[in-house]
Amino acid sequence: MTKLKLTEINGDKKCRVIAFEGGSNMKTKLENLGIRLGNEITIVNNSFMGGPITVLCGSTKVAIGRKMAERILVEVVK
């Protein structure tokens, strides 16, 4: 499986979180919203116009700013 930045995924794909390239504060904030290593997230909206990426995690939708999303590494599950 290839590691990709969350921003590099196009379309409504399901991904597994495999790494955070950020500080512990960013990790804690993401974990609080259910985005943890090993968890599956589905991309709801990744606009070609830039702006935040929206993912579905469990039944929660979370908007992630682009710079932060670039530091979330995932692999595509399906």
Partner: protein, 603 residues
Amino acid sequence: MKKILLLGNPNVGKSVVFSKLTGTSVVSSNYAGTTVEFTKGHMRLQDEIVEIIDVPGTYTLQPTNKAEEVAVEMLDEGDLIINVVDSTNLERNLNLTLQLLEKKIPMIISLNFWDETEHKGIKIDIEKLQKYFKVPVIPTSATKGIGLKDIINKFDYDEVVEHNYGDNETRWAEIGRIINDVQKINYKEHSFSDLMEDLTLKPITGVPIALIVLFISFIIIRFVGEGFIGYIAEPFFEVIYRPIIAQLSNILGGGGFIHNLIVGELINGTIDFEQSFGLLTTGIYIPLAAVLPYIISFYFVLGLLEDIGYLPRISVLVDNIMHKVGLHGFSIIPLILAFGCNVPAALAIRNLDSKREKFIASTLMATTIPCMSQMAMVIGLLGSFGGKYLLYLFAVLVVLWIFIGTLMNKLVPGFSTDLLLELPNFRLPSFTTVLKKLWMRILGFLKEALPMVLLGVFIINIFYTLGIFEVLTKATGPVLKNIFGVPEAAIEALIMGFLRKDLAMGVLLPLGLTAKQMLTMSILLVIYFPCIATFVILLRELGPKDMFKSTVIMLTSTVVVGGYINFSFAVDGFDLIRLVPVVLLFILIQLIPKNKKEDLAKN
């Protein structure tokens, strides 16, 4: 008195539980704590009165921001915790639950939004959950009032359980085990609500939807506000109130200091509620008849948008734009709140992460966002010259917003964070909750506005009698006249604006301003300085040094914008050629290099 804490993640319905528990006969008050607001209320339980505290939402007891820090500090005060949990998001919510269970405080768990689990295909085994935690677990649907009785029945619960879930990793592992055992999910097909949620997020459909929502909001606010004034407020003042005051005026002899203080000066032999400036005429008329109707209509619409869950979607849509001024999408929410009143907005700015963001957001708000109290008067006074003047007012404020926002983004040192925001599901707002929130905001307005306007009217009368305004007019008048092209007496409005902007607008009425002068003064009153109530909070939030910098920006903006309007506004519109300097200035600002001290990626 027994203290009960409502604790839970943000947006799990704590405040609905709170307002249902504390009931209609209860006055809830807002307390300005040192860092964030929480709400206290009381409820009678047989012979005992218990205090219920609605603690700000938090995801964890390891706080990542100020609001969460306060939630953690509040823990020591509680005799009983009601942990409100979103049962459609059990896994994520349990992170806080497990941390709370370690605190050795009696606790009950409310599985809220229970009614929504079924159509989402979620099944939770409550019995098993209770066995894991050894505390009462109660399914609730607070908006429908379901399960609240069961919670009240447990108010005397006082057993303390011992739990230790270890560090973050082991806690999450434990949560995973529990979830696997107690919860089963059969994902269902996309519903209409899901479709709408997606459409409001994607820029291509989301932006038009946002514009339509904004447009409809404006129409409703205007329509309802006007309606209240025309059909209720004015008839009341003219038909019922006028004879009483006329009688009083006679008794007081129709003139003299006491008469003018209480009833005000007679205009052409009769009482003019807008121009007499007595405590019982203008002092009552401005807050109750001119402003309150718009406060009601604004907060009604805002309450609906808040409860539907629409505001966070605007955050996503404007994220790109907000980055241009050094903020991210979330900060649009305090700025929207500011259109109601700058005071709660200044408090909401606390939720922003960095000092730099707080400074930029506070300054943008205080300088460019008119509160509804002022806007109600602006609509009445400036709007009487024609609707286009209201558009000019907003156009000038938008341009100023972009200018000082971009400038601050370039020059203010520090770091900005990135958007990370949970998007709530759309929910049909509960009518009673919306009305209740509206009622609390109306009470808040009356408590804030009435005394201030009355104080202002009192001061105006004293200043007139002592001739203070004359001295001030002589001293500052030439500046106003030469730079801004407004009458010298307009200084009275600027002075009253420190107290209340609506009153300040009221002071302008007797001056007989032209459309251009009214436009200039309306804009200057937005920009030059916040009202005292906002100032006090900003000073506390920003500290004296940053407040001083912020003030410099406001005053500079005042001179530049006021002077520019005077220079470039022809009889009934802006001179196109004289817009050139604005464009040039904008290009110049773009060329300014960014402050080196900034490190954006400090998340």
